[in-house]
Every structure is written in structure tokens, then in C-alpha cells.
């Protein structure tokens, strides 16, 4: 019994140390590195939800949305975890639907989903409400909250796999480009 308790204590301290180390890396904006480092073995950290949450937010910041699929299933024990799991699930779902709609021309105009403040959700909402046809395969989506901002949404077929590209323009200048597939 004592051995079990000691083992549990040791495990909890190891997890706590790893979490605080990961937090430091997260604050140093090492998002891509964190996401790739733990993508293969994140299941081993299922006992530490804080660790899984830090990993998930790193993947989200790095734009590796598919990597959220595994943590979504692991986040369920605390309110924070459940809130964030539904937040990640919404973004992942919107990404998949938007990709499907753009490539296979599926009508999603009648869809009603929750939204988030993440760029992909914003573009998803604008695309669902959009009534204009694409020009040369490019959708121009005007931001409803910011008149100076608009987004370009299109499918790039340069590589062997089709990629969904979101470009953010502010005052007609390209500010950011996000690529998902």
C-alpha cells in the first residue's frame, strides 16, 4: 500500500514538473516544436489534463488542427478541460466541413454550428453566409466587424494533396496566410 502511494506521489510530481516546463516553452511561443514533440506520445500524458491542454493550445497556435483529435477525447475530467474540448472540437469540425465543401462543392449554407474567435471559425461563418460566387476559384469574404479586413479563401492544388488556403488582408495588404489540409 505504501509502495503504491509512493509511486502515485512520484508520478504526480513528475507530471507537475513536466507541465511547468511545458508552460515555459508555451510562453516562449515554441508552439510547433511542442506539438511535434508530443504528437506521437500524448496519450501517455492522459493523467495530466493541464499538460494535454498546453499541448492542444500549442497545436492550435501552430495551425496543426488535426493533432487536436486525440486530446479532444482525453479532455473530460475538469470543467476547463470540457470547455476547451468543445472549443477544439468545433474548430476541427469546421475545418473538416469547410475543406469538404470547397473541394467537393457540398452545400453547407443551411448549417448551424457554434462558433469561436479562431480565424478558421470566422472564415467558416463568413463562407456559410456568403452568397457571392468565387472569382477564379477564390472566395472574397468581407469581415463584418472590421471594414478594413477581408479574407481570401481558395483551394491550392500545387502539391499532390489539395490544400485549403486562408489569406487575411488588412487595408488591402496581405497580413497572414493559413494553410490547412
Amino acid at each position: 500500500m505504501r509502495l503504491v502511494l509512493l509511486l502515485l506521489l512520484a508520478l504526480s510530481t513528475i507530471f507537475a514538473n513536466q507541465t511547468s516546463e511545458l508552460l515555459k516553452r508555451y510562453e516562449n511561443a515554441e508552439y510547433k516544436q511542442i506539438c511535434t514533440d508530443y504528437s506521437s506520445n500524448i496519450k501517455n500524458y492522459r493523467k495530466s489534463e493541464k499538460f494535454v491542454l498546453l499541448y492542444s493550445f500549442s497545436c492550435l497556435e501552430a495551425g496543426y488542427i488535426d493533432s487536436l483529435a486525440v486530446p479532444i477525447t482525453m479532455l473530460k475530467y475538469s470543467k476547463d478541460a470540457r470547455d476547451n474540448a468543445s472549443y477544439f472540437a468545433t474548430i476541427l469540425l469546421q475545418k473538416k466541413i469547410l475543406y469538404n465543401a470547397l473541394i467537393d462543392d457540398v452545400d453547407i449554407s443551411s448549417l448551424r454550428l457554434p462558433t469561436t474567435t479562431y480565424i478558421l471559425s470566422k472564415v467558416f461563418d463568413l463562407y456559410v453566409k456568403n452568397k457571392n460566387n468565387p472569382v477564379d476559384g477564390v472566395y472574397r469574404l468581407d469581415d463584418t466587424q472590421d471594414a478594413d479586413t477581408f479574407y481570401k479563401l481558395y483551394i491550392s492544388s500545387r502539391s499532390h494533396i489539395k490544400k485549403m488556403v486562408i489569406e487575411v488582408y488588412k487595408n488591402k495588404k496581405l497580413e497572414n496566410r493559413y494553410i490547412y489540409w
Binding site: L23, L53, A81, S110, P114, T115, T116
Partner: protein
Amino acid sequence: MHNLEQLEKRWFIYKAKKYIPIALLTVLVTIALIVTLLFKSDVKKELAVKKDNIIKKDEPIVPVSFVENVVIKEKREEYAPLVLQPSMSFMEKIKSSEQEKTVPVKKVQPVEKIKITKAKSVTKHTKITEYELLTLENRFAKSSSATLGLFIAKYYYKNKEYKNSAEYALKVNELNPNLEESWMIFASSLAKNGKKDDAIQVLKKYIDKTHSSNATTLLKDIIKGKFK
């Protein structure tokens, strides 16, 4: 002589009495037949209706998204989607647990070492010189970049210059109203400046728009007087 007329009457009555039960029986049987026939037709109708329902259930289920329904489209226009916010309070929990761990270590460590750690933390905040700050402010005035403005607001907030931090956070909010951090800095700066009512109003408006969990916790802290 026999009274023939009376005899005939009696014979007629006798015959009638003989046939009355048979007649009654036939009438009852016919009534029963009619009732059963009517009942059967009702049952058939009911069965037909049920069959229709079963057939409808067996039909392939068409997803709502692919049904061209005007009512759905009208409802969609009225629909205000639920805005999900990331819950970042777990980070504070990690930090607080870290602090708890470091407290006993500080007690054991000699005084000199503590001084060194403090000096390190100070250098983090005073990395920017006054000249650099001025140039940053000038750059912000020219470019009106929200991220730069947020950086300046954060800097002022960390250095307890709450009037300046509120001013820059407000500018950032005007440039980009979706940056939660700048709203939080703006409200916190107002509260630190003693303008608690203004901070509460700002947070309430922001929460109405975004349903932010971080903003609600800050609002609760300000109302309860926990935020100092």
C-alpha cells in the same frame, strides 16, 4: 255449431306465437352482422393509416442540410450562434501550483540567492529603456498596429502605470475589438485606477458580446473586491 271466426283468430295467434322468437332471432343476428361489418371497416382504416406511417418511417432519412426548406432558411437568419471561448484559467492554476512549490525552497535558500532571482525578474520588466518605449509609441502612432499597441499597454500595466495602460488598451480595442487580452488589460487598469464601476460596465458589455469566461471571472473578482 262451431264458431269458425273465433277458431281462425286463435289459430292465427298460435301461429304468430310460434314464429315470434325466430323473427326476433333473425333481427338480432342481422343487427350483429351489421355491427361487426362496420367495426371491421374501422379497423381496416386504422391499419391502413398505421401502414402508411410504417412506410414513411422506412423511407430513407434525408439530412436536414440537404433539404431545401424555406422555413429553415428563415430561421437561420434569426439564429445567433453560440460563441465558444477557450478557457485559459488552467494556466493560472499551473502557475499558482508552481509558486506553492517554490515557497519552501525560498525559505531554505540563503538571502543572496533570493536577491539574484529578484534581479532576474526585474530585468525582464525593465528590458525596454525610455528611449525605446518612445520609439515604440511613435511606431504605434504611425502604423496603428494592434499587436504593438497591446505590447505597450502590457508594458505599462506591468510597470503599474495604469492610466497609460488603459489609454493604450482602449486604442487597441478600437483597432481590433476581438483581442480579449486588451479588453482585460483595459478593465483591470480601470479597476486599479479606482474606476471600478467603469471597469464593471466595460466587462459586462464585453461578456454580452463574447461570453468570455476569463472576463466573467475578472468581473466577479472586481465585484467581490478580490481584485486588488
